[in-house]
Amino acid sequence: MNVLTDRHRERLLGYALIAPVAMFLGALVAYPFLSAIYLSLTEKTVGYPAHFVGLRNYEALLESGRFRIVAWNSAAFTVGSIVVKLVIGMAMALALHNVVRGNQFIRGILLLPWVIPTVVIALTWKWLMDLFRGLINVALIDVGAVRSGVHWLGDPTLAMASVITANVWRGFPFFGVSFLAAMQTVPQELYDAAAVDGAGSWEKFWRITLPSIKGVVAVVTLLSTIVTLNDFNIVYIMTRGGPGAATHIFATYSYELGIMSQRWGLAMAASMASLPLVALLIVAVVRYLHREEE
């Protein structure tokens, strides 16, 4: 058998098997993406064909006060969610680390929020936070913490904290389980050596645990930032961006502009707004993953 033909055959099979992936990503990811960029440069009104307007949609967004609020809200929603997820996730991992009995079982229960449909989670939190009948207000009144129900979703200041709460509930288990898995790979000898040096638990955490798992912490944080920055479900269902625009974020705002107002050019421009940041985050993840592989 000829070596050259063998290699040719392998190449051919390689291309044949990757072709469906390539065609799929080309037709259904790249094409809509490029057409969205084009759409963001046009003005389209119902009944007329789209016409090219250059960067006018982007200028209009930058000048719009509402868009500035949306950008600020998206930042608050993302940073707030990630910070709390990091803290609770780390607490969860540390609490479970080295627990032998029931570890699997507890971890299994704690991961449940992560598999339940997000729509269910958002609806459940909306109901938990219901002004008159929600569990949170009823329980707070019962223990005498407040006299009348708190407007969790109706008060502009509280509403952002409330949607962040639902998002954290959904996302922190993934942080915790990932951190825990990373902690379990840290060699016990490091801790033993530190113990000989007289290090306390706090010191061990900062000197050994955190430096050893920082790669996983970075990747999980970056991945979660990408997803949170583009979150739609929780805000859309809990507040529709309200009250006013107090919880409006990029995705709910594009949806409002596109589906509700039929202003497709503007909607797509708003969609693109977070793109540079997402691109940077993706580059960061890819670089981290490559470093880990080496």
Partner: protein, 266 residues
């Protein structure tokens, strides 16, 4: 030392409570009567409890239809993604050809790109077929990436032995590699099913026809004239979560290992 153990269990108990309470609230509400909900009676434990909300779902709402639509969409898009992703992952891990690294990078990047809003511009199509094609846009990169890890862990020697015995490359893949990767294929398939079953935005954008809505969209628009509709809604929420929880019980071993390792190393 004793103090540290106590603190550890206190933290665990608190976190478990945080996770448990909302889930309990779903189940408790689903067994309440409309009157109990409306008047805030027996808030913590429904006494007496009723299954009327569940009966209502199947007899008077479109719930069964939504389940059917969700099941069709999730199963079809899962199978499609598995077929495409398996071939791609095999090609990227086992065969050498010019451009392989570039393809690998593209797959990783599309895996990281969030399911985005660019589809909003396409408007309603009112067909489950659109969803079946749209979901693989985020499932295919995911399956490919996940399976690349599984394929790498299968020793090349096994395949080479088959080649020496006269099998073609394709035969070696189908008869040797795929059976060994079966747990990986199953895990990837179940992940895909869960992601499709839970998907909301595309289903919201593409489907306007009431009889074609999927479960998450149906739930999000579940407003009946009765003021105390929360009982029915939470019953629906409990049932909608059930399939993915069942899948998860099988999967959670892989979720912990596969996904965390998967997120970090592929």
């Amino acid at each position: 030392m004793r103090g540290a153990t106590l603190a550890r269990w206190a933290v665990l108990a608190l976190i478990l409570a945080i996770v448990f309470v909302p889930m309990y609230w779903i189940v408790a509400t689903s067994f309440k009567t409309g009157r109990q909900i409306l008047l805030s009676e027996s808030v913590y434990v429904p006494r007496p409890f009723t299954v009327d909300n569940y009966v209502y779902l199947f007899e008077e709402s479109r719930f069964a239809l939504w389940i059917r639509n969700s099941a069709i969409t999730a199963i079809a898009s899962t199978l499609l993604s598995l077929a495409i992703g398996t071939a791609g992952a095999y090609s990227l891990t086992r065969l050498s050809f010019p451009g392989r690294r570039t393809f690998g990078a593209i797959v990783l990047i599309t895996y990281l790109v969030p399911p985005d809003r660019t589809f909003i511009g396409l408007g309603y199509t009112n067909s489950l077929g659109t969803l079946i094609l749209a979901y693989p846009t985020f499932l295919v990169p995911f399956v490919t990436w996940l399976l690349m890890g599984f394929f790498r862990s299968i020793p090349r020697e096994l395949e080479e032995a088959a080649l020496v015995d006269g099998a073609t490359r394709l035969q070696a893949m189908v008869r040797v590699v795929l059976p060994l990767a079966a747990p990986g294929l199953l895990a990837a398939g179940l992940f895909c099913f869960t992601l499709s079953w839970n998907e909301f935005l595309y289903a919201l954008i593409f489907i306007a026809d009431d009889s074609l809505k999927t479960l998450p969209v149906g739930l999000s628009e579940f407003v009946v004239s009765d003021f105390a509709f929360w009982g029915q809604l939470m019953a629906a929420a409990a049932l909608a979560s059930l399939p993915v929880i069942v899948v998860y019980i099988y999967l959670h071993k892989y979720m912990v290992q596969g996904l965390t390792a998967g997120a970090v190393k592929g």
